[in-house]
């Protein structure tokens, strides 16, 4: 009965590769998000998405793109991975303007 799930939990890859992280929520929420958490625990929002609107944090490189096949899924695709992309990525979901429920995180290591 996991609320927000992400796969994989760990991802190790080389620079220049393209990878995807999957996220699913079974809470019936209308909004999903992707966050990046750096080594100092700073949480930075990357995207906010519902079936009406995609809000992109302007500091996010366009190598990152969210893809939503349906309301319950928001996948994160990353092109041409760089060393600085190494971080923990969290998916979250919520009803609009309410508290968010976070997934367990995906630790991405780029070598």
């Amino acid at each position: 009965d996991t609320a927000v799930s992400q796969t994989p939990k760990y991802l190790v890859t080389q620079m220049g590769n393209d990878k995807s992280i999957k996220c699913e929520q079974n809470l019936g929420h209308d909004t999903m998000y992707w966050y990046k958490q750096d080594s100092k625990k700073f949480l930075k929002i990357m995207f906010s998405y519902n079936n009406k609107e995609l809000i992109i944090n302007e500091t996010v490189p366009n190598r990152f793109s969210p893809k939503s096949p349906d309301k319950a899924h928001l996948n994160l695709h990353i092109n041409s991975l760089e060393l600085g992309d190494s971080a923990v990525y969290f998916c979250a979901s919520s009803f609009t303007s309410r508290e968010q429920y976070f997934g367990p995180g995906t630790r991405l290591t780029v070598t």
């Binding site: 700073f42 949480l43 906010s48 519902n50 508290e99 968010q100």
Partner: protein, 118 residues
Amino acid sequence: GESVGLHLPTLSVQEGDNSIINCAYSNSASDYFIWYKQESGKGPQFIIDIRSNMDKRQGQRVTVLLNKTVKHLSLQIAATQPGDSAVYFCAENISPSHASGGSYIPTFGRGTSLIVHP
């Protein structure tokens, strides 16, 4: 308390003491505030929230205080337990009418590491 800086602020307390974690927010248009707890290796977890038309809200062992005049938020944990050890984040949400595109983007503070000594 939380602050912008290179290091994660840390609060160390003894088991049984009360803890107070502080947060300064930046946007006077923010109308909804949330505290999250992040345990090691896990995602942030909702603790308590408060709307801007309130100045205090209580939960089980936790109280959130909001001072809009100075844009300050605090989380008080009563009788702190070792299981409370975690990183605590405050987050502010701006109402859609104030944010670009009609939606909102929640903004998280830097986090405070709470260490509870038995």
